[in-house]
Symmetry: C2
Subunit: 491 residues, 2 copies
């Protein structure tokens, strides 16, 4: 088969890259670091978007749209933001092309230089807070609960499809509140929304927690994160929610009159997930045969392949299949009937395995006679023969089973790969041999955190929520610690 | 009232600008020419998107995503495209900022200059056809029916909210076909989709037709358009669909092996509508009191305002209102209950009139006693008292009536403002005094078209489809003509 994949054990990184391309999710474009999201990949992203958007609206948020460009000077207004945020940005300096005098195409018109350069947004806190200044006068104007679906650009030097690209798609929520508590609650609410989405829809278990000071978003007082574990034992940060305090309000002079008639600075949060989630989805579940998609996000949940020798057989099978399709659709199950005559059934089986279609049904002349159909599930690669009579009910139940099973498999894997370490030697040994999450005591200093990172490449993924208090000593410095934090080597 | 509008007759242009801002649809941003689409405006755009997306999928299209940036050299590859297309583009020349040595913020890092400048897409034919080259080998790979929802940038010097902005949101379909006929059919299919959407959802009647050669999209062999008439008698081009022939396939060397094993160039179309439709929606229906929204696109279709003197009255009214809300929602009607205590009913009435909410219900203590409710419709500004018993059925019917009535009003207006002219004097007289569409004979030459434009500002909006053949003489040159074309002064 032309599309065969390298195995995960042989080369996980190449397996991932090849799978993303071969399963028609995305590919590199002619523009360095920018990807093309292909229709099959985009269909998954659309399903993610639809569900997240529903969850955002259910929690009181509305969508809006803010400019792609940010004046350069805005970046300097919030000191921590400009210091901490990567400065690799796409910079627009001119606004016109003209014909080359020598007739060889176009050139940038040197007369069309912008007075102030514009930055293609790497994130929109600055442009949004400069806008909120005009929207907020009184406590009655608060809260503002806006979300934006948008593209952003960060000029990454080393890119990988979905995981790290120069341009990516995301949503960014930006909320404004009258009180600190309300903003803190909002930041927490949204990390919980992300966790629910990851677990219930992507079937990816995540650990929720707070970032260490060193790993916080530039300009944030608190960054919450959800951390997922990939099959190679590396962590993937899958969504973050930031409590920004009054930093952006101060930078852009956004105040409101409170109920007592006094001027106060507004409190802020921001939160986002991106097409990086596509990478998490692929790496969490897929196997050496290809994608394994959770039914709730699969572009189509069922594929039906007819097996026939002649037109007459195909017609008879199709008649039965069309009945089945109608019954499946009535249950809200999405289904593709692949009666394409150019490809053999074996080719199709491999293709839909590669593409992670959760359930494959195949029907041949003997099935038609017997009133049966072959049912193959993608997650376990097992096959059964079922009666066509109540196949819709059967498939509905199967899809639920698959969704749960994929989650359970990832959950068990994550638990198996989560280890406590009580000494630095043990810590290093786990990272080198087993990988995964390591729970260890840390003295709370950035210095220790950075030493550990330099020596082992592991970073503090988060200080997990709801962790039991436990007296201990830092694995690196031996200083006292009150609880374990979650380490891992991360994407 | 603080938000009062200037009247349309006094200053149509200012009326439009003020209305867009005061009704919370959009506003100018800190970045020249770029707008902020506010939540209320974005909610309308989301409804447009959802409906169009459904129609695109129903006609066999899929979504994908292509890069924001286009290498400068790509623009030179299709000669007509680069010649004809405006060269006002945002040009990215650098990819990094750095701290100013003097400590005053950030500057562009001169060492981070791109080897080849990147253009922020003004439209994506070039980047997409460079991608399609890799997707297409055989006739089996065709057709490709992709759509993209994206932001694009054209560095317009004079901008107006929604109508002409530097950055705008749109969808662009890009399809690839094995035969000329199939591509031509596709271009025609999509202009029909746009017309159906404009008429059935926006309640804006449109005239479908082909552009004259002079007004075609750069690189197109045929451009189809839908043209709408605004209340000031000016035309607004509301959507276009292009048959691109083999021009982009030739430029990017995209060939396929046909069924006979021969190499052929691929045939192309592209088609798009943008946030400009928001401008059409506002200008087609709204009045001196504010927006008039068609129920099918209103963010909420019904607003309910309680009228009360004390908490007890409010509680009693709210109990009844909640029953009504449940019944309305069961019919799929979206409703907002505004029990905000900070604003008086009169303020709310004016506010929702400004925002174009199709139906307003108001309930006071006497209504509660009598089992009645006041029903106000936005399009006619009339009020009635209705029984609460079957208010849901009543409102459902009313919303349908409003949708039809808004369309009919715009349709009658358009017909009244469409005039035949048989001489150039008559043509100019109509444009000067009555405005609107003028149907007149034209000799088919670009020369005449441009003379008429210079002298009257009117352009050929389209050569309408299905126009009767009619022998005549060109109003300008006196040369023979076989049918009338549609002229107007346009946005």
């Amino acid at each position: 088969m032309a599309k065969e994949l390298i195995s995960r054990s042989e080369n996980y990184s190449q397996w991932y890259n090849d799978l993303v391309v071969k399963a028609d999710l995305a590919e590199n474009s002619a523009v360095r670091g920018c990807m093309v999201i292909k229709p099959y990949g985009y269909a998954i992203w659309e399903k993610m978007q639809a569900e997240l958007d529903r969850m955002f609206k259910e929690t009181g948020h509305v969508n809006a749209y803010f400019p792609l460009f940010i004046p350069k000077s805005f970046f300097s207004k919030e000191a921590a933001h400009v210091e901490g945020f990567a400065k690799e940005c796409a910079v627009v300096t001119h606004y016109r092309l003209k014909n080359n005098p020598d007739g060889s195409g176009v050139m940038v018109d040197p007369d069309a230089k912008l007075e102030e350069e514009l930055i293609v947004r790497p994130t929109s806190e600055t442009i949004i807070w400069s806008t909120y200044k005009n929207w907020i006068q009184s406590y009655r104007d608060l809260p503002i609960l806006c979300n934006q679906w948008a593209n952003v650009v960060r000029w990454e030097m080393r890119t990988r499809l979905f995981l790290r690209t120069a341009e990516f798609l995301w949503q960014e929520g930006h909320t404004a509140h009258a009180t600190q508590q309300e903003a803190m609650d909002e930041a927490m609410k949204m990390i919980n929304v992300y966790a629910t989405f990851a677990e219930n829809f992507m079937a990816v278990p995540v650990i929720k927690g707070a970032k260490s000071e060193n790993e916080r978003f530039a300009g944030a007082l608190e960054t919450y994160t959800i951390e997922a574990l990939m099959q190679d034992g590396k962590a993937l940060q899958s969504g973050t929610s930031h409590f920004l305090g009054q930093n952006f309000a101060r930078a852009f002079d956004v105040t409101f009159t409170n109920k007592d008639g006094k001027e106060e600075l507004v409190w802020a949060t921001s939160w986002g997930v991106s097409t990086r989630l596509m990478g998490a989805l692929v790496m969490a579940h897929s196997d050496d045969n290809g994608l394994v998609l959770p039914p709730k996000l699969a572009p189509f949940q069922v594929v039906i392949v007819p097996i026939y020798k002649n037109e007459e057989q195909l017609d008879a099978i199709s008649e039965k299949v069309n009945e089945i399709i109608a019954k499946l659709k009535a249950r809200g199950i999405s289904v593709k009937y692949d009666y394409n005559d150019n490809k053999k059934p074996g080719w199709k089986f491999a293709e839909y395995e590669l593409k992670g279609v959760p359930v494959r049904l195949a029907m041949g002349p003997r099935d038609l006679e017997n009133g049966t159909i072959e049912v193959a599930r993608r997650d376990t690669l097992t096959k059964e023969v079922a009666s066509v009579d109540n196949i819709d009910e059967y498939v509905e139940k199967l899809l639920n089973d698959i969704q749960s099973n994929i989650y359970k498999k990832a959950f068990d894997f994550r638990n198996e790969k989560t280890t406590k370490a009580d000494s630095y030697d043990e810590f290093k040994e786990i990272l080198n041999n087993k990988g995964g999450f390591v729970l260890a005591h840390w003295d709370g200093t950035t210095e220790t955190e950075q030493k550990i990172k330099e020596e082992t490449k592991a970073t503090i993924r988060c200080i997990p929520f709801g962790q039991e208090e436990e007296e201990g000593t830092c694995i690196y410095s031996g200083k006292p610690s009150k609880g374990r934090v979650l380490f891992a080597v991360a994407y």
